[in-house]
C-alpha cells in the first residue's frame, strides 16, 4: 500500500477530504454544545414575551434558519460560479453539497413561519412580498438540484447549475429588502445596524447561540455531503481507490 502523503499531496478534492475529516468531529461538538446552551437559555432563562406569549420562542429556529438559508444560497452560487469560471472541480462539488441543506433550511423556515403565523397573524400563509420571494428561494434550490441531477455529464451539469444559481441570486436581496420595499404582513428587522436591537438580553443571547449552532450544523453536514460527492466523482483516482481499500474515512 502506498503512503498517505503521496495520495493527499496534490489534488484539491483529496486535500478537502482530509482537512474536512479533521474538522468534522469539532463541528459536531460545537453544534451540540451551542444548540444545548441556546435551547436552555431560550426556554428557561428568556422571559415570556409581553405581546406574543410563548409563541415567540419559535424565533430561535425561524430566524437562524431563514437567515442562513439566504447566505447559503449566495455561497452555493459563488462556488458554482467559481467552478464554472475556473473549471475547478472541488468548487462545483461544494455547490452541489450546499443545495440540499439550503433547501432543508428553507423548508424549515417556511414551516416554522407558518406555525408562528397562525397564532400571531391568524393565518398559516399569506402571499405578501417577503413570504412569496422566500418561497421562490425554495424553488430555486429545488430547481438547481433537479437540473444538476438530470444531466448525466457532471461537467455540463455543473455548468447548467451554475447558470441557474447565479441568475437566481438576484432573488436574495429581493427577499432581504422586501419588508422595506413593500408593505408586508411580515415584520421588519428586529436586529439592525441603524436601529439597534429591540429585544431582551437573554432572548438575544439565545438567538445568537442558536444562529451559531445552525452555522456549525450547516458546515458539518455540507462537509459530510461534499465528502460523499468527492468519493463518488473521484472514484477513478488512486487516492480514492486506496481509501476505499483500507476502508478509512467513513
Amino acid at each position: 500500500m502506498n503512503s498517505g502523503t503521496r495520495f493527499f499531496a496534490f489534488s484539491a478534492p483529496a486535500r478537502f477530504y482530509s482537512l474536512s475529516g479533521l474538522l468534522l468531529p469539532w463541528l459536531w461538538l460545537l453544534t451540540i454544545g451551542l444548540a444545548g446552551a441556546g435551547l436552555y437559555i431560550g426556554f428557561f432563562l428568556a422571559p415570556v414575551d409581553a405581546v406574543q406569549g410563548n409563541s415567540y420562542r419559535i424565533i430561535f429556529v425561524h430566524v437562524p434558519l431563514a437567515w442562513i438559508s439566504m447566505v447559503m444560497y449566495l455561497a452555493m452560487a459563488f462556488w458554482a460560479a467559481i467552478g464554472w469560471a475556473f473549471n475547478a472541480r472541488m468548487a462545483s462539488m461544494l455547490a452541489r453539497a450546499i443545495a440540499p441543506t439550503g433547501a432543508l433550511f428553507t423548508v424549515l423556515a417556511l414551516w416554522s413561519g407558518a406555525l408562528w403565523g397562525k397564532p400571531t397573524w391568524g393565518t398559516w400563509w399569506v402571499w405578501d412580498a417577503r413570504l412569496t420571494s422566500y418561497l421562490i428561494l425554495l424553488f430555486l434550490y429545488l430547481g438547481y438540484i433537479a437540473l444538476v441531477e438530470a444531466i448525466d455529464d457532471p461537467k455540463r451539469a455543473d455548468q447548467a447549475g451554475a447558470l441557474l444559481a447565479v441568475v437566481g441570486a438576484v432573488n436574495v436581496p429581493i427577499i432581504y429588502y422586501s419588508v422595506r420595499w413593500w408593505n408586508t404582513l411580515h415584520q421588519g428587522a428586529t436586529i439592525s445596524v441603524s436601529g439597534g436591537i429591540k429585544m431582551a438580553d437573554t432572548m438575544l443571547m439565545a438567538l445568537l447561540l442558536m444562529t451559531l449552532a445552525c452555522w456549525a450544523y450547516a458546515f458539518a453536514v455540507v462537509f459530510m455531503r461534499a465528502r460523499a460527492i468527492v468519493i463518488e466523482r473521484e472514484q477513478h483516482t488512486a487516492w480514492v481507490s486506496a481509501l476505499a481499500q483500507t476502508g478509512r474515512g467513513a
Binding site: 459536531w28 426556554f43 428557561f44 432563562l45 422571559p47 415570556v48 406569549g53 410563548n54 409563541s55 420562542r57 419559535i58 429556529v61 425561524h62 434558519l65 440540499p100 441543506t101 432543508l104 423548508v107 424549515l108 414551516w111 416554522s112 406555525l115 408562528w116 397562525k118 397564532p119 450544523y217 458539518a220 453536514v221 459530510m224 455531503r225 465528502r227 460523499a228 468519493i231 463518488e232 472514484q235 480514492v240 481507490s241 481509501l243 476505499a244 481499500q245 476502508g247 474515512g249 467513513a250
Partner: protein, 61 residues
C-alpha cells in the same frame, strides 16, 4: 422543571402555544438528525462502491 415553569406539564403547554412551539422544534430536530445520518450513509455507500469498482478493475484482464 426549573426557572419560569411550574411543572413539566406547564412547560409542554407553553402558555397555550405548545402545538406551534413543539411542532416547530420537533420537526426541525427530526429533520436535522435525519440529514446527517443520510449524508453519512451516502459517504459509506460511496466508499463501498469505490472499493467494488477497484475489485472489478483488478479482475478484468
Amino acid at each position: 422543571m426549573g426557572g419560569q415553569w411550574a411543572s413539566a406539564a406547564d412547560f409542554l403547554f407553553m402558555g397555550g402555544y405548545g402545538l406551534y412551539v413543539w411542532g416547530t422544534f420537533g420537526v426541525t430536530l427530526t429533520l436535522m438528525v435525519a440529514e446527517p445520518l443520510l449524508a453519512r450513509r451516502r459517504c459509506r455507500q460511496a466508499l463501498v462502491d469505490a472499493a467494488r469498482a477497484e475489485v472489478w478493475k483488478d479482475s478484468t484482464p
